[in-house]
Chain length 752, copies 2
C-alpha cells in the first residue's frame, strides 16, 4: 500500500537539491575574485542587477497584491475556494526567490570564472558550470518544495474543508494549479522586464559602440557596457530561471491534476492517488539523476572545445538516459502489480515519458541545426551579408519561419504518441481514452523537464561565462584569458539551443495539458454553483442545467458537447482568432518596448561620447550608472502593459465569449504562440551566430561591410531571441492559468 | 415565383461588365503613346511581362493537367463526381484569362498615362483609372460568367445525373466549389510567381542602384529597371487580379453552397433555391453599382492631391452605400413575402451584408492608419532611422504585429454579428441556427466584395501609375510630368490600403464559410459511399456507420459529434498546430525565394555595372533582357515548391489525421495565416511609406544616413507586402478548397 508518506521522498529530493545548491554556492564563493579592478567591475554589475531586481519586485508585488485581493473577493462570492489566493502568492514568491538566488550566484561567479580562466580553461568551466548548477538546483529544489509541502498540507489536513471546498484529489490538484499561476505571473514579469532590460542595453551598446564608433564588445569605454552585463544577469539568469521554474512546476502540477481527473472513477483502490504521485516521483528521481550528471561534467586540464562540449553533453545525456530507465522503475513500483484494465499501464505510461524526452532532444537538435554556424542555414544568412543588411534580415526571417517545421511536427507526433501510449493505443474518442491520453501528454512534458536540474545548469552557465568575458575585457586581462572565456561563452550558446528546445517543447505540451485542467475547473465551479443554489441546479447553457451529481459525473467529452466546443461554433473560431492575435500583439508590444528603451540608451551613449572629454581615449570614466538607470526605468515602465494584457484578455474573453471562446483563445494562442516563439528564437539565434561566423573570418571578417550587415541582423535578433520569443512560452501558459483561476467567473457570467 | 431564368440577370451583369471593360480598353488604346522612346520602353516592358506570363502559364498548365487527371481518377473510383475535373479547369482558365487581360491593358496603359500626364494630372488619372477599371470589370465579369453559366448548365440540364451524381442544389453548389479550387490554384501560382518576380527585380534594382551607386529609382542606367517595371505588371496586376478573382468567386460559391445546405430542409417551397440565388444577385447588382462608381471618378482640370483622393473615394464610397441599400431591395424581392419563421429574414440577412461592408471599411481604415506616413505609427518607424537600420526593422516589425489587433477584433465582431443577424439573433447552438448563421457569414463576405469592380480598379490603377512614372523617368520627360505621375502613384498607395483591407477581411470570412462546405462535402462523400456499398452502409468511425438516409439527414452539429471535432481531441489540436506552422513555413519559403532570386539579380546588376563601359554615364545601354530573364527564371523555379506544398499538406493531413485533423489544419492555417498576413502587409507598407516620409524631407531627407536606414526597411518590406503576405490570403483558401475536393479520399482512407 502506497501512502501519503511517500511524498516525503519528493520533499527529500527538494532538500537534497537545495543542499547541493548551497554547497556549490559556498565552493564558488571560496574562489578568488581576482584583481581589484575585476572585483570593482563585478561589484558594479552586481549592484546594478540587484537594484534592478529590487525595482522589478516592487512592481510585481503590487500586481500580486491586487490579484490576490481579487481572488479573495472571488472566494467571498464563492467563485473560487479560499486557499487560492495564498497558493497563488507562494507560487510567485518561490519563483522570485529562485530568480534571486540564481542571479546572486551568477553575479558573484562572473569575476571568479574570469579569474579561474587565467589558470586554465577547465578551471573556468568548473566555476561557471557549478555556479550555473546552483541556479538549476535552486529552481527544481524550490519547485519541489512548494509542490510537496502544499500537497502534504492539502491532502493531510482538513484545510480545504475548513474553507468550504471539497477535500478530494481533484480539488487539491486544481487548487495547487493556482500556485502555478503565481509562478507564471512572476515569470512573465521577469522575462518581459528582464528581456527589455537586457536588450535595451545590448542594442544600445552595440548600435553606438560597435556600429558608430567601431569599439569592440564589452569595451570599458562604452557607457552601456555595465548595463549590458547587468542585463545578462537580470534577463538571461533571473528571467530564464523564473521562466523554467514556471514550466517545471506547471508541468508537474498540470499532470497531477490530469491524473486526479483521469482516474477519479477508477475501480482500483488508490489508482487516482498513485497517478497523482507519478509526476512528483519522476521529478524527484530526476533531481538525483541531474546531480549525478552535474558531477560528471569535468574535463582534463588541457581540454579543447570539443572535449568541453563532450563533457557537458555527457552530463546531460547520462541524466536523460538514466531518467528514461528510472521511469520504468517508478511506474512499475506504482502500477506494476495491476491486472486487467491497468495491467500494461506501467510500461505504456513510461513510453509516454520517453516520447517526451525524445521530442525534447529532437527539437534541441533541430534548433542547433538552424542556429549554429556549423551548419548551412546560418552560414547562408552570413553569406547574404554580401548584398547588405536587408538580405541578412530577409534570409534570417525566412530561416526562422522554415525552422518551425521540425519542432511543430515533432510536437505533433509526440502529442499523438504520448496520448496513444498512455491510453493503450486506443484512438477511439471516449471519455476514458481521452483523459488517460491527456495524462500521457502531461507526463511526457514532465519527462522532458525531469532533468531540468542539469539542463538549466548548462543554460545558466552561458550568461555567467558571457559576463566573465565582459569582466576579463573590461579589466584588461591578457588576450589568452579572453580567448578562454570566449570559448566558454561559445560553448554556452550551443548548449542553450538544446535548453531552448526543452523549454519550448515542454511549454506546448504543458499548455495542452492545462486545457484539460481548465475544463476540470469548470466542472468544480459548476459543482460549487449547484451546491450553493436554492434549487440545487447550475445553469450550463440556455437549455441545460445540471445538479451537483450531474456536474460531478460529466466527462470531458460531455463538456465539449454541452458547451459546443467544436470547430463549427463561431464563438470558438473567434476565440482562436483572438488567441492568434494575442501572440502577435504581445510580441509587437515587447519588440516596440525594446526599440523605445534602446533608443533612449543610444541617445545617452551618444551624449556621453560627445560630452565627456577623453572618454574614447579611455582617459575618462563613462557614467555607467546612468545607463543602468535608463535600462531599469525603461524595463519597469515597459513591462507593465504587455503583462497586464496577458492577464486581462483571457478574463475579458471569458466574460464576453464564455467557455467555448476561452478554449478557442487558449488553442489559438498556444498554436500561434508556439510557432511564433520557435520562429523568433531561431531567427534571433541564427543572426547572432551568422555575425559570429563572419567574425571568425568568413566573408570579409570583422570590420568589413559584410560584418556590419550581420551586426544589423544580430541587433534585430536580440529582442527576437531574448525578449519576445521566450516571453511567448510564458504567455501561452499564463493565459491558461488565468482562465483556470477565473473559471468560476466565466461560468457565472458571460455575454454570449 | 422565382425561376431559374433569373440567373440570366447575373449573366447579363457579366456581359455588361465585360462590354464596359472592352469599351474602356478601346478608349485607352486610342490615346497617344507619346514619344518614340516612350513607346520603345513600353514595348520592352510589355514584351517582358508577356514573356513571363507565358512561361508561368506553361508551368501552371502542367500542374492543372496533373490535378485534373487526379480528379478524373478519383471520379473513376467514385471518390468524386465526373464534372469536377472540368469545373476545376474552367476556374483556372478564367482566372488566368482575367490576369492576362488585366496585364495586357496595364502594359499598354503605362506609356499612355505618362503621356496624358504631360497634359494634366486629371488626364493622367483618367487614363490610368479607366485602365485599372478594365481589370476590375474583367475580373467580376469573368467570375460571374463562369458562375452563372455553370449554374445554368448544372441546374437546367441533367448533366450531374448523367455522370452518376445527385442532381440537387447541394451537389450542384459543392461541385461548383471545385471551380473555386481551380481559381485558387491559378491565383496561388500567379501571386507567388508574380510576387517573387517583382520583388527579386525590385530588391535587386534597389540594393545595387539606390544603395551602392546612389542612382534614383527607375533610372535607365540600372539594368534591372525594366525587370522592375515588368514585375509591377506580373505581380501587382496579374497576380492581384487572379487573387481577387479567386476571393470574389470563392465568396459567392461558398455562400451558394451554404445557402443550399442551410435551407435544404426548409418547409417553404423554393426557399433553398432563393438562398442560393442571393449571393449571385448581390454580386450582379454590385457590378452595376460599381460601374456607376467608376463613372463618378472624374475631377477638375487643376485638381490637387486632395481632390484626386476625393474623386476616387467618392466613387468607391458611393458604390458601397448603394450596394448596402440595394441589398435590402434584393433581399426583400427574394424573401420579403415570407411569413412565420422566415418573416424577418430579408432584413436580417441584409444586415449581415452591411456588417461585411462595414468590417471591410474599418479594416481598410486601420490599414491606412498603420501604413500611411500621415499618421504617427509610420512616422515613428521613420524616426527610428535615427538609430540606424536595425531599429527601423525592429520598430516596423513591432508596428506590424500591433496592427493585427484592429483587423482581428473587427473580423471577430463581424463574424459574431453576421452570424447572429442571419439566424435571428439566436446564440443557442443548434443545427438550424448554425447553418443559417454560417450563411450570414458567407453573405457578409459577398457584401464586402460586391463592389470589387471599382475597388479593384483603384487597386490596379496603382501599378499602372507606378509604371507610368517609370516610363516618364526612363524616357527623360520633364520633371513636372514625373511629379504628376508620382502624385498619381502616391494616390494609388493610399487606395491600395483600403483594397488590401477588403482582400484580407473577405479571405478570412470566405475561408470560414468554406469550413462548412467542407463538412457538406464530407456528407456527400458518405452518401455516395453508402449508396455504392453492398450493405448500404458508410463507415464513419470505428463504432459508427451510416445509411444513405442517415448521412443525408445528419446536420453540421451531428458531424462535429460523430467525428469528435472538438478542442479536446488531440488530433484536432495537432491539426491546428500544423495549420499554424504551414502559414509560417509557406512565408519562409517565399521569403527565401525572393532572397535567392534577388541575390542573383544583384550579382547580375553588379556585373553589368563593372563590365559594361560607360553604363553609369548613360553612354552605353545596359542588358535589360538578361535581368528580365533572371527574374523570370527565378520566379518560375521558386514558385513550384511552396505552391505544391500548399496542395499536398491538406491531402496528407487528411490521409493521416482524418476529418478532425483536416478541420484543425484549416482553422489553424486560417487564424495564423490571417494574422500573419495582416502583420506582413502592414509592416511592409509602413516601411515603404516611412522611406517616402524621409524622402519628403523629414529626418535628413533623401541621401542621408537615415534615408539609407529606411531603404533597408523598405527592401525587407518588399517581400512582406507583395509576396509572402498576399500569398497567405490565397493559401488559407486553397487549403480549404483542396480539402473540399479531396473529402472523398479523406473519408475513405485515413490512418488515425
Amino acid at each position: 500500500m502506497i501512502s501519503n508518506s511517500i511524498v516525503y521522498i519528493v520533499l527529500a529530493a527538494s532538500v537534497l537539491a537545495l543542499t547541493f545548491a548551497f554547497i556549490f554556492y559556498k565552493q564558488m564563493m571560496k574562489q578568488d575574485e581576482g584583481t581589484d579592478l575585476m572585483k570593482k567591475i563585478a561589484a558594479h554589475v552586481r549592484k546594478g542587477a540587484m537594484a534592478y531586481l529590487k525595482q522589478q519586485y516592487k512592481v510585481v508585488i503590487i500586481v500580486f497584491i491586487v490579484l490576490a485581493a481579487i481572488f479573495g473577493i472571488m472566494a467571498y462570492f464563492k467563485l473560487q475556494n479560499g486557499v487560492v489566493w495564498f497558493a497563488f502568492l507562494t507560487g510567485g514568491f518561490f519563483s522570485g526567490l529562485a530568480g534571486f538566488f540564481g542571479m546572486k550566484t551568477a553575479t558573484y561567479a562572473s569575476a571568479r570564472t574570469a579569474n579561474a580562466a587565467r589558470k586554465s580553461l577547465n578551471s573556468g568551466l568548473q566555476v561557471a558550470f557549478r555556479s550555473g548548477a546552483v541556479m538549476g538546483l535552486v529552481v527544481v529544489g524550490l519547485a519541489l518544495l512548494d509542490v510537496s509541502v502544499w500537497f502534504l498540507v492539502l491532502n493531510g489536513t482538513g484545510l480545504l474543508e475548513a474553507v468550504g471546498a471539497e477535500n478530494d484529489l481533484i480539488t487539491i490538484t486544481t487548487t495547487m494549479l493556482t500556485f502555478g499561476m503565481g509562478a507564471s505571473t512572476q515569470a512573465l514579469f521577469a522575462r518581459v522586464g528582464g528581456g527589455i532590460y537586457t536588450k535595451a542595453a545590448d542594442v544600445g551598446a552595440d548600435l553606438v559602440g560597435k556600429t558608430e564608433y567601431n569599439i569592440p564588445e564589452d569595451d570599458p569605454r562604452n557607457p552601456a557596457t555595465i548595463a549590458d552585463n547587468v542585463g545578462d544577469n537580470v534577463g538571461d539568469v533571473a528571467g530564464m530561471g523564473a521562466d523554467l521554474y514556471e514550466s517545471y512546476a506547471g508541468s508537474i502540477l498540470a499532470t497531477m491534476a490530469l491524473g486526479a481527473s483521469a482516474f477519479a472513477t477508477a475501480a482500483v483502490e488508490g489508482m487516482q492517488f498513485r497517478a497523482v504521485l507519478a509526476p512528483m516521483l519522476i521529478a524527484a528521481v530526476g533531481v538525483l539523476l541531474s546531480l549525478i550528471g552535474i558531477f560528471m561534467v569535468r574535463t582534463k586540464e588541457n581540454a579543447g572545445m570539443k572535449q568541453l562540449l563532450g563533457a557537458l553533453s555527457r552530463g546531460t545525456n547520462t541524466a536523460a538516459v538514466l531518467i528514461a530507465v528510472a521511469t520504468f522503475g517508478i511506474m512499475y513500483f506504482l502500477f506494476g502489480k495491476e491486472t486487467g484494465e491497468y495491467a500494461n499501464m506501467w510500461w505504456q505510461t513510461s513510453l509516454s515519458v520517453v516520447v517526451g524526452l525524445l521530442a525534447g532532444v529532437i527539437i534541441g537538435k533541430a534548433t542547433e541545426y538552424y542556429t549554429s554556424q556549423s551548419y548551412k542555414p546560418t552560414q547562408k544568412v552570413a553569406e547574404s551579408s554580401k548584398t547588405g543588411p536587408a538580405t541578412v534580415i530577409i534570409s534570417g526571417l525566412g530561416l526562422g519561419m522554415l525552422s518551425t517545421a521540425i519542432p511543430v511536427v515533432t510536437v505533433g507526433v509526440a502529442i499523438v504518441l504520448a496520448y496513444l501510449c498512455a491510453n493503450g493505443f486506443n484512438i477511439e474518442f471516449t471519455a476514458v481514452n481521452l483523459s488517460r491520453g491527456l495524462y500521457g501528454i502531461g507526463i511526457a512534458a514532465v519527462g522532458m523537464l525531469s532533468t531540468l536540474g542539469i539542463t538549466l545548469a548548462t543554460d545558466a552557465y552561458g550568461p555567467i561565462a558571457d559576463n566573465a568575458g565582459g569582466n576579463a575585457e573590461m579589466s584588461g586581462l591578457e588576450p589568452e584569458v579572453r580567448k578562454r572565456t570566449d570559448a566558454l561563452d561559445a560553448l554556452g550558446n550551443t548548449t542553450a539551443a538544446t535548453g531552448k528546445g526543452f523549454a519550448i517543447g515542454s511549454a506546448a505540451l504543458t499548455a495542452l495539458a492545462l486545457l484539460a485542467s481548465y475544463v476540470e475547473e469548470i466542472k468544480i465551479a459548476l459543482v460549487r454553483i449547484a451546491g450553493a443554489a436554492s434549487d440545487g441546479m447550475a445553469k450550463v447553457s440556455d437549455t441545460v442545467s445540471w445538479t451537483v451529481e450531474q456536474a460531478k459525473n460529466a466527462s470531458l467529452v460531455d463538456f465539449m458537447d454541452v458547451y459546443s466546443v467544436n470547430l463549427m461554433n463561431p464563438v470558438v473560431l473567434v476565440g482562436v482568432f483572438i488567441g492568434a492575435m494575442m501572440a502577435f500583439v504581445f510580441c509587437g508590444m515587447t519588440m516596440n518596448a525594446v526599440g523605445r528603451a534602446a533608443q533612449k540608451m543610444v541617445e545617452e551613449v551618444r551624449r556621453q561620447f560627445s560630452t565627456i572629454k577623453g572618454i574614447l581615449e579611455g582617459k575618462a570614466e563613462p557614467d555607467y550608472e546612468r545607463c543602468v538607470a535608463i535600462s531599469t526605468k525603461g524595463a519597469q515602465h515597459e513591462m507593465l502593459v504587455p503583462s497586464i494584457l496577458a492577464i486581462l484578455v483571457p478574463i475579458l474573453t471569458g466574460v464576453i465569449l464564455g467557455v467555448p471562446g476561452v478554449l478557442g483563445l487558449l488553442i489559438g494562442g498556444l498554436a500561434t504562440g508556439f510557432v511564433l516563439a520557435v520562429f523568433m528564437a531561431n531567427s534571433g539565434g541564427a543572426w547572432d551566430n551568422a555575425k559570429k561566423y563572419v567574425e571568425e573570418g568568413n566573408f570579409g571578417g570583422k570590420g568589413s561591410e559584410n560584418h556590419k550587415a550581420t551586426v544589423v541582423g544580430d541587433t534585430v535578433g536580440d529582442p527576437f531571441k531574448d525578449t519576445s520569443g521566450p516571453s511567448l512560452n510564458i504567455l501561452i501558459k499564463l493565459m491558461s492559468m488565468v482562465s483556470i483561476v477565473m473559471a468560476g467567473l466565466t461560468v457565472t457570467c458571460h455575454l454570449l
